[in-house]
């Protein structure tokens, strides 16, 4: 399965944020999306998630044959976690499972899902309003993973986690990557190099894959910095 982007363009007023993007993302890989502040990483995600309408271009899934993206093809984990604050963690999961009953494969019990995401027993029946930032982020990630979407967009997801949880999440992402296309945006180069199979740079509105064959980490870092610095 591939996610193919063709000639994607998006502008705000006269500012062209995404310019004619052509790229192919493949299943089984974690892509690290790097870009400077304001480069358009979130805009890119918002376009893929159809929160923003693109000015021109298209994107589709190629899985034996070409098809348009469906609602359940994408899971989008935002940098600021959004959870319905009036529900408890358990209730949120129950609602989600109720609604998506026919789409969830290998359905587990709610507690099994909590265990998978390492959410403590005493937190499961607390209102989400009282969850910490990191816990809300875990819930958001969990809900996006349960439905098993083909594509996972993660916008700076690990920055709010403490080191232990961040490590757990990294392992979790590695464990599920074989069935997904995971695109992971971050400012932190070390994280991208550590976790991702491919590094993609968003600069001047276009995506560029950094070729890392025959490069050690330091050389790779320099190459990325040079690419990002380019005016």
């Amino acid at each position: 399965m591939k996610l193919i982007i063709k000639n994607l363009t998006k502008s705000f007023d006269t500012k062209k944020v995404l310019q004619n993007i052509n790229f192919t993302f493949e299943k089984g890989k974690i892509y690290g999306l790097l870009g400077r502040n304001g480069a358009g990483k979130t805009t890119f995600f918002n376009c893929l998630n159809e929160d923003l309408e693109v000015d021109s271009g298209e994107f589709y899934i190629e899985d034996k044959e070409k098809r348009e993206l469906d609602y359940d093809d994408i899971g989008y984990v935002l940098s600021t976690p959004n959870v319905p604050e009036f529900l408890t963690g358990r209730e949120f999961l129950k609602f989600f499972i109720d609604i998506n009953e026919d789409k969830i494969k290998n359905k587990k019990t709610i507690d099994e899902y909590f265990d998978f995401m390492k959410i403590d027993t005493e937190d499961r029946d607390k209102l989400l309003k009282d969850y910490s930032h990191g816990m809300k982020n875990k819930m958001q990630m969990l809900v996006n993973i349960i439905a098993n979407p083909n594509i996972l967009l993660l916008d700076e997801p690990l920055t709010s986690f403490d080191v232990v949880v961040a490590e757990e999440m990294k392992e979790m992402l590695k464990s599920i990557k074989k069935d997904h296309i995971i695109i992971f945006s971050t400012h932190i180069m070390e994280l991208a190099l550590d976790l991702c199979d491919e590094i993609v740079i968003l600069n001047h509105g276009t995506l560029e894959l950094i070729d890392h064959t025959n490069l050690n980490t330091k050389q790779m870092k320099n190459k990325i910095i040079e690419a990002l610095k380019e005016e």
Binding site: D13, D51, P84, E85, E91, I99
Partner: protein, 524 residues
Amino acid sequence: MIQAFITSFKLKNTYRVNTIIYSIREFPFIKNILPNTLYRNKGLKIFGNIISILIEIIGTFLGKILFLLSLIASIFIFYNNFNCDYFIHIFTLLSIGGGLLNTYLFNPTKDKYYALILMNMDARKYTLSNYFYSLLKVLIGYLPFMILLSFFMDLPLYIALLLPIYVVMIKMIVVNFSLYDYKKNKKATNENIPTKIVWIGIIILLALSYGLPYISFIINSYIFTFIFIISLILGIYSFIKIYTFKDYKKMYREILTSPSMNAIKKNNTEIVKENVLKQIEYKDNTTSNKKGFAYLQELFVKRHSKILTKSAKKQTIVLLIILAIAIISIELNSELNNSINKILLTYLPYFVFIMYLLNRGTTITQAMFMNCDHSLLTYRFYRTPSVILGMFKERLKTLISINLLPASIIAIGLPLLLFLTGGTDNYFNYIILFISIIAMSIFFSIHYLVMYYLLQPYTVNTEIKSSTYRVVQALTYFICYYMINLRLPTFYFGLLMTLFCIIYSIIALILAYKLAPKTFKLRI
């Protein structure tokens, strides 16, 4: 100091002009025509500056003229005739109240926050120059009207000239007292949160203003002159104290950064969001045995009972009491029968406005967004057409049933009152009264929910961004308000209204079903 004033004025002007340009761009369709570079367009800046100056001028005079007009009107109401001494008396006393509630210095505004905290301007220079400017505006704002009054209402000219100066003196005395209080207790007051003592003072001043003339104690021009001299001495003393006060920086750091002042830094929507979040109530027994949409909606209603069911119940109780009072009055005083009967047969349009006021559509949809959709709409599963329409159906049921509770009291009460006050020859009037009220209630529920689903006005940051939504809200208000003045036979108006509600509701629901899956999404 003049330089500090000019800088702060320019700063205020810049964001005022930017706000004006921003609002212009928010109008429907205009946004697409006008580019972002508008903010550096010189012509528009000049236009914005002219509007800004106009706002400044209007701000100087409008409040004063309204205050003076209502003061004069109140004299006619309370004493049936106008006497200059009444005017001097009430003005003298109410100015003290005004001084307490409107100090400028202790009002934590955005201007001050920007200038003192963000821009780190010299606090003393900024405060004093702007404070004296505000006093100058008070003086200039009052003078022309006072002089006019001296021509038309026999107010002695020297009193007319002294009154504005008196107001300025009072304001300085109050501020000096508050500064003294700050020096002593190290706690700065906030004029927007008056203390109990201030409130009691205001009530006493109001009572003295309007009560004393009844016992023939009036501050006439002679007594006023005496009070003026004292206020002048204290005012000049206060001026020196205010001028030489050194701790403005420290004081404003406290006023502008204390937790209660957070409101200044946040915009209104954040405050609304915080308030709505506070409405969530959670007890262990608030669970639901339902599934899917119904499950979510039931939990939402239970956890927001304060703003949903409880307030509808409160409305219902109040309406029941009003109905009971009406019935008792009719029983006790049969003379009322005729007029009430007439009201019921011609004032139905008035009830459109009442039903508008009773309907809690805006509050409820706001809570739906802030506490539920704001987060869930970021999940794609929540935006599938089947989920959007499923939730829409559940919410429609909730909204209609919540609003029907108080509406049913009016729907039953009106025909009952009609019957008790002598009835009507046309029996359909009873039915029409009942049905039209119920129809109106359902209409408003559908109206608000459909508007919410079709225009979804909120952004990710929970600001209202859709000007179309604002226009529709304003139109709804004006149309309902206009109905107040209509006198139409209940039978025909009720029939038309019911038909309108049915047709509108059908069209709105069809539109919602067709369009909501596309329109109901977060604005970015």
